[in-house]
Symmetry: C2
Subunit: 338 residues, 2 copies
Amino acid sequence: MKPVNLKRLAEELNLSIATVSRALQDSHEVSAATKERVRALAAALHYEPNAYASSLRRNQSKTIGVVIPKVTNHFFSLAINGIEEAARQSNYHVLIYLTHDDHAREVAIIQHLKGGRVDGILLSVASGTEDIAHIQSLAPANIPVVFFDRVCAEIATANVTTNDYESGYQATEHLLAAGCHHIAHLLISNNLSIGRNRQQGYLDALQAHGLPPDADLVLPDTTNRAHNEELLRELLQRRPDIDGIFASVEHLAVSAYHVCRELGRRIPEDVKIVGFSNLESVSLFDPPLTTITQPAHDIGREAARILLRALEKKRPILPSQSVVLNSELVQRRSSEQG
Amino acid sequence: MKPVNLKRLAEELNLSIATVSRALQDSHEVSAATKERVRALAAALHYEPNAYASSLRRNQSKTIGVVIPKVTNHFFSLAINGIEEAARQSNYHVLIYLTHDDHAREVAIIQHLKGGRVDGILLSVASGTEDIAHIQSLAPANIPVVFFDRVCAEIATANVTTNDYESGYQATEHLLAAGCHHIAHLLISNNLSIGRNRQQGYLDALQAHGLPPDADLVLPDTTNRAHNEELLRELLQRRPDIDGIFASVEHLAVSAYHVCRELGRRIPEDVKIVGFSNLESVSLFDPPLTTITQPAHDIGREAARILLRALEKKRPILPSQSVVLNSELVQRRSSEQG
DNA sequence: CTGTTAGCGCCTTCAG
DNA sequence: CTGAAGGCGCTAACAG
């Protein structure tokens, strides 16, 4: 079975390859009749243009790379959803790479992507990333980047984030208003922009109420959940006075909930918890867990749109295109049964 | 700034393009000294081969396409995780496409992928898919497919699934053993292999215990959650005798839980629920929700491995390579607090 | 061991 | 309106 390419179509129609190519692109300089003949045969033979030949020639891949720490975090799943939606609308394709919060892997991925496989990158940096040389090398390679959620301030490009500082502040005030006196803050690593911002909101809220910073638990590792819960358990046992917890990462909110229960701390009587989370099922926890929910889908879609617009118009991405979306603090009510 | 490609390297080193190419591929027919010179310069200039030129020439893209209904379902997130792991180990790339359970979109995606963008496809079919012509057209186009989870029996290829029939049977027996007399089965559409298998397990378990099929609620739509819950609410109100629910889809387990609570049916005293779910946070529901958990990560990884092995050895995929992994029925204990 | 040549499939000047 | 020719960057056969 002979391959179906432009040459084949041209032969069967007694036309030149160039004409067939133009006809399929609906070029103005080809007669309607010819276009029709070409299109009919192309459809009949199920012609599909070779994406790579076209990419090579046009020097653009119609593909964007999405580089994220993990996909099992619901935030990133929702973001991918938004990204895919935007990409599809612009006829772009989406390559997925997971760093698992491993800096070395992030470097390798970025380096590889400079080989022209993608026209642009959506990036949420790994928590272990401090050295950003690999990201800086994208600019000279002419590969635009848009950061989402976990940004990298040193790079002059657009970021799509949520109001992390305000959310941290708001979460802390929420706990204070509910009568908490000793509020612990849980975060993972502190070199991530989002962690720092949420933490600052937490600290400032305490200060505004004349309180000193309290237990600020920085969990070193993002992957080892059991270990994180162990550290959390230690903290709560060492500090029985803790009556409020602000968990600034999706996973930690659930862990905090779990550990409190395990230790017999009643929620919300003994300990009140507010946590970042995009898990819908959290709404079924009983007692309820108050959550800060990010518009994850919108974040992904916005980030992708900014990138795609820049690619389509071949214009550079400016930091001024950054977008800050608002998270929502959702206070669940206890579902009184009966 | 001149581009860094083989030509550039060749010029600077006074070598031919071919030699440079061979050196970078560690070919046997290049002197160690030359290899060293080439590699040194390549590293210094951060040379990265153009993936598309290479793909065009070699007629293989080192890329696999993953076509799934959605990514916000935790099962698929975990599966992608496994797929990415396997792909990375084989130096393959992963393109993601979401069908949103829309048959037309699935057809368009598959058609497009025949343009050589991917070497193979991992597919979990959309729930609306009955016409499978588009999938059948992949074989002549020489694009191997491996199905996972939602398979398509008519296509002779490898499937990676879980023991759906047994799980359905087991779930039903679990409810019967717990004293249920009227067990409802919830599923989405009934043209999916997994739904049919789980349903058959349910029916056979009832029959084995001398019971007739009971409320078999087939929910038409997969996307409209509110509507599904509405139908579920109607069912439970119409049938107050229902004391057991077997939810054969991740989302429906949570919905069933939610609706029961809303209607004041106590769990598990009034209604016992067993549902497929891969959500970790379900373990924090109180009262507990017994779940059937699929080894989602392993399913993705296995499916990818089968596909990648076939691609690397250029051998066809045989139905005999299919794998059936076992789900796990996890009975949560109530976390007595205090 | 190295160089020359041809061509993957497509797009895009330039001619006519 | 259509055709001929060149080249995107890389690889593979064939020489030497």
